[in-house]
Symmetry: D2
Subunit: 129 residues, 4 copies
Amino acid sequence: MTKIAIRGYHLDAYQHVNNARYLEFLEEARWQYMDNISQEAYTRLNFSFIIVNININYKSSVTTGDTIRITTEVEKIGNSSMTFKQQIFLDGTEKLVCDASVTFVILSNKTGKPMKIEGELKSLLLKGK
Amino acid sequence: MTKIAIRGYHLDAYQHVNNARYLEFLEEARWQYMDNISQEAYTRLNFSFIIVNININYKSSVTTGDTIRITTEVEKIGNSSMTFKQQIFLDGTEKLVCDASVTFVILSNKTGKPMKIEGELKSLLLKGK
Amino acid sequence: MTKIAIRGYHLDAYQHVNNARYLEFLEEARWQYMDNISQEAYTRLNFSFIIVNININYKSSVTTGDTIRITTEVEKIGNSSMTFKQQIFLDGTEKLVCDASVTFVILSNKTGKPMKIEGELKSLLLKGK
Amino acid sequence: MTKIAIRGYHLDAYQHVNNARYLEFLEEARWQYMDNISQEAYTRLNFSFIIVNININYKSSVTTGDTIRITTEVEKIGNSSMTFKQQIFLDGTEKLVCDASVTFVILSNKTGKPMKIEGELKSLLLKGK
């Protein structure tokens, strides 16, 4: 679970967090989820996450002084793609700010082609931190 | 139609334009589409665009030295919401980089409630620049 | 003191944190410094921070996997302006990544004019969190 | 000379362009200045621009509906470093929004060491577009 305090530089002319900034927040949460994968494992398994789709619903707005809480869960796992379900809540409440499905392909850096999600890679992706 | 030259600061660790940055590119293209609405009309009609959903497919990547071309069209128009279909191409080609559906609600700044899309507002939103 | 883990979306084409992103990191650290000022005090004292100068030295680069540590200290305090000295270190070491002097004017939101830094305002600005 | 229309996503909680965003605007202007350097010349000369200092004065603010005009000139050129003087004006006027000195070192990608600014490299850097 990731917490981010909303600051003035996250807002736009509407005084709300800008739609693009939420994608950085979601990416930050996925990096934290992936913090269980060591640098050694990244180097050895030698793969990249290639985002193929993001479908995000903006449900309510947040502003300076708010803190958000982001949850990241595996929604679906296929042969070489997987989908995270990510939800952003106003911290301390169950009020939903955004929910998103983020779909990736796992690419082998060696071949440049999609990589089968199995074995160690699969268990690392499923576990999260 | 909007053209943007891809620069080093648009890229991320993968040497491709970051997923969040594309949402800024799409927003830029919508601002250009909306440039036909004068400041006078904004003030008089007194509304805000509230994004409720973005569904974006990342099809191919672009990097420094590339230029992208963004098209923005009305995909659907409802009572108080509308959806833009936006496509990003590698300029000079028909190669699709991203396509996205971006759905808004039009909010009245006076009442804070959704506003009926009709009359002058509707024709401004449909026309674009 | 602020800590930020460097992620792929912070980097640019050179695989280093982009020069503009550091200004967001410094702003984040100033927000954390200012977290001792309650919403109640902000509303009552009713002021804005207006940056007038940033002088930043980029000393060494950081990349994905690194964590940075940011320190924020008052360098100078004048009648209605103040300067923060901010330093970014590679966390766990004394290696300097950036140092910056950031100068503000304190503006009264009521009058739109510079506000004298004295009394409660001064002690809040000097103390930090 | 570079022109940028200010949009809602460039602003922050103060309804002005955020201090960090200006550094992206300045970088964009430098890329446009450097557009005279062909991809072929970049590859052949094989160098990187490493920013070592930015000293920026924020003089007046701009907001949605404004357009800015950025000028980029060589302020100083040394053995292996150079400084650009960049100024941002409210377009259509002589009103100064920002001025900045941006100092680089030119690094050889082959040796990882500073490169002498002379010959073809020097004339490309001095000329701009």
